[in-house]
Structure formats: structure tokens, C-alpha cells
Amino acid sequence: MANESMVLFEVFIRSRRGLDHKHVGSVHAEDSEQALEYARDCYTRRSEGVSIWVVKSEDITASQEDDSESFYDPSDDKPYRHATYYKLPEAVNNM
């Protein structure tokens, strides 16, 4: 199966200027140039994007989501980092 040798790339698309790139799926390709072309062909058939990133799937280091207790919980005890923590009078609450 020659297909096995092709590399899996994750595809990220910026749908409009001013927005973040967002993960949309993956493509198989031989190299990143080809992956970019295929990402365009496969994921922007209705002009969904103004900019595309492709990244080899194996190059992504991911946190283990089930570890999220240790990874994310520590910051849960800092409610003062969120804007809603601060109650301001109505007149100036538009801050």
C-alpha cells in the first residue's frame, strides 16, 4: 500500500482576515507544499479561507486531555483573572 507512505498533515484555515486559524481536518500528501495545495482543493471549495496552515500531524505535541485536572485546574482557583470577577457600578460597567 503505497498510500501508507504518504504523510498525514493537519489543516488549519483562517476564514476571514482578523480571525484565528482554525483546525478543519487533515490531508495526506508527500510534502508540505503538496499538502498546502490539497488543503486548498479539499477544504476551501466554497472560498472558506484566506490563509491556510498545514502541519505534519506527528509534529504536534498535544496535552493529554484526561490529564486536564493537573494541567488546567490550578488556574481555576484564580477567579480574579477573569473580568467578571470585578463588580462595578452600572454607570461605568461598560469597561
Binding site: 504518504m6 495526506h28 500528501a29 507544499e33 503538496q34 495545495e37 482543493d41 479539499c42 471549495r45
Partner: protein, 255 residues
């Protein structure tokens, strides 16, 4: 020269360009679900869609110029083999992936030189169609150039197939650079393009891509021509039979 006569010439010229796009687009649709892998299947359909879209713009303009109520479909589905004016290279069967790649390369390089000239046409509609087309063509050429390199310099098998495709197709490239009287006249009026002037740059570009891909340019002693006079290969008749049969089964119907 009267305006009417010039309209007839532009109509004829537009139809030639329309036929080129439609016939090639049709051949490319034959790849759908037959591609070497999924991503490439999708990419080839995109190219096919570009060509069918381009054909519709040209036919639409031809319908406008003819001014007798004809539609794009009348031109595409109700003309016979002898009336089609596409260049022969477009009608040849899809062949293997190497054959389709080489045909695209030859045509994409040609269009990358032709369309920028057509963009300067005195005819605003043709210029606008060319302006849209060149964007597509730049992308098509990136693809066909890239594939030529990958396949030419890939395995012994792929190299052999590519060289064979080049040798089979080269004889059909000459008529890309021919001008008949009508085309000469339109080129002089800066409506059409002087294709003869494009050959040197076409050759230089194609030769450099082929040589980078470790492929060889054949010599020029085999030359086939006839598309612009309706003198086609046997392939076109079969293509039209298939493409037109349903429309012709009841041409007065809406589909």
C-alpha cells in the same frame, strides 16, 4: 469593416476558445472517481470545473454576439463534429495519469502566456474572461509543473510513462501557435492574440521544466493540425456522441 462583420469574426473566435475549454473540461471530468488517491481526485475535479466554467463564459458571450436567441447549450450540444473548432490536443482521450499531466502542462504553459495577452484585448468581455482565467491557470500550472517533476524524476516506471506521453503529445502542440486568416485579422485589430509570437517563450518554459524533470523534448518532425478547420481526430465524435445524446433526445426540453 462593418461592425456586423467584426461581430461574426469575434463570435467565431469566441466559439473556438469555448470549444477548447469545454472539450478539455469534459476530458478532465472523466477522471472523477478514477484519481490515483482521494486528494488528487478532488484537485482534478477543481481543474475540470474551472474549464467548464470558462467554456460557459465563452459560450455565453457567443450567444450574446449571435443575437438570434441561441444559448450556451445550443452551441455545446447541437453542433456536430465538423462544426467544433477546438484544437486537437484537447480532444485526445484522457489516457493514463502521465498523459493527462503532460497535456495539462503543455496547455497550462500555453494559457499562462496566452491569457495575459487576451487580457489586453480591445474586446472587454474577452479581456474579462481572460482576467478570471489567468488566476485559475497560474494554479493549474503550479500543479502540472509539480507533477511533471515528481513523475519525471520519480521511478523508472513513471519516467517511462511521462516520456511516452510527451512523445505522443508533442505533435499536437504545433497548432497551438498557428494563426489562420481570421485569427490574424483579429490579432491585427488587437481583439485576438498573435499566438505565433508565444512559441519561443512556451518552448523555453516547457524545455526547462522537462529538463528539470529529467525528460527530453522530442524533435519537431511530426506535426498534426486541423482543429480550427473542424478536421478532427476520431476521438471527438465519440466524445460528442456521449456528451450530446441526452440533450438531443429532446432539444426543446428544459433540463
Amino acid at each position: 469593416m462593418s461592425v456586423v462583420l467584426n461581430n461574426t469574426a469575434i463570435l467565431e473566435y469566441t466559439l473556438r476558445l469555448a470549444d477548447d475549454s469545454l472539450i478539455l473540461g469534459h476530458r478532465l471530468t472523466e477522471w472523477t472517481s478514477h484519481g490515483p488517491f482521494l486528494e488528487e481526485d478532488i484537485a482534478m475535479s477543481n481543474v475540470a470545473l474551472d474549464y467548464i466554467g470558462r467554456a460557459r463564459m465563452y459560450y455565453g458571450y457567443a450567444a450574446e454576439l449571435s443575437g438570434d436567441g441561441k444559448t450556451e447549450d445550443d452551441f455545446a450540444f447541437l453542433r456536430d463534429e465538423r462544426e467544433f473548432r477546438n484544437l486537437l490536443i484537447n480532444e485526445l482521450p484522457r489516457g493514463d495519469f502521465a498523459y493527462s499531466t503532460v497535456r495539462q502542462l503543455f496547455i497550462d504553459v500555453f494559457n499562462s502566456l496566452y491569457l495575459p495577452k487576451l487580457m489586453q484585448s480591445n474586446d472587454e468581455t474577452l479581456a474579462a474572461i481572460a482576467a478570471k482565467g489567468i488566476k485559475e491557470t497560474r494554479y493549474h500550472l503550479r500543479r502540472s509543473r509539480d507533477w511533471t517533476l515528481r513523475l519525471g524524476d520519480g521511478t523508472a516506471e513513471s519516467h517511462k510513462r511521462m516520456q511516452k506521453a510527451i512523445d505522443s503529445l508533442w505533435g499536437y502542440t504545433h497548432e497551438l501557435f498557428e494563426l489562420d486568416e481570421l485569427e490574424q485579422q483579429l490579432a491585427d485589430q488587437r481583439v485576438g492574440v498573435d499566438n505565433t509570437a508565444l512559441r519561443a517563450e512556451w518552448l523555453a518554459t516547457v524545455e526547462s521544466i522537462l529538463s528539470e524533470a529529467t525528460l527530453t523534448r522530442p524533435n519537431d518532425d511530426w506535426v498534426v493540425k486541423g482543429g480550427r478547420t473542424g478536421y478532427h481526430t476520431e476521438n471527438l465524435g465519440h466524445l460528442l456522441t456521449e456528451m450530446q445524446f441526452l440533450h438531443r433526445s429532446n432539444p426543446s426540453c428544459e433540463w
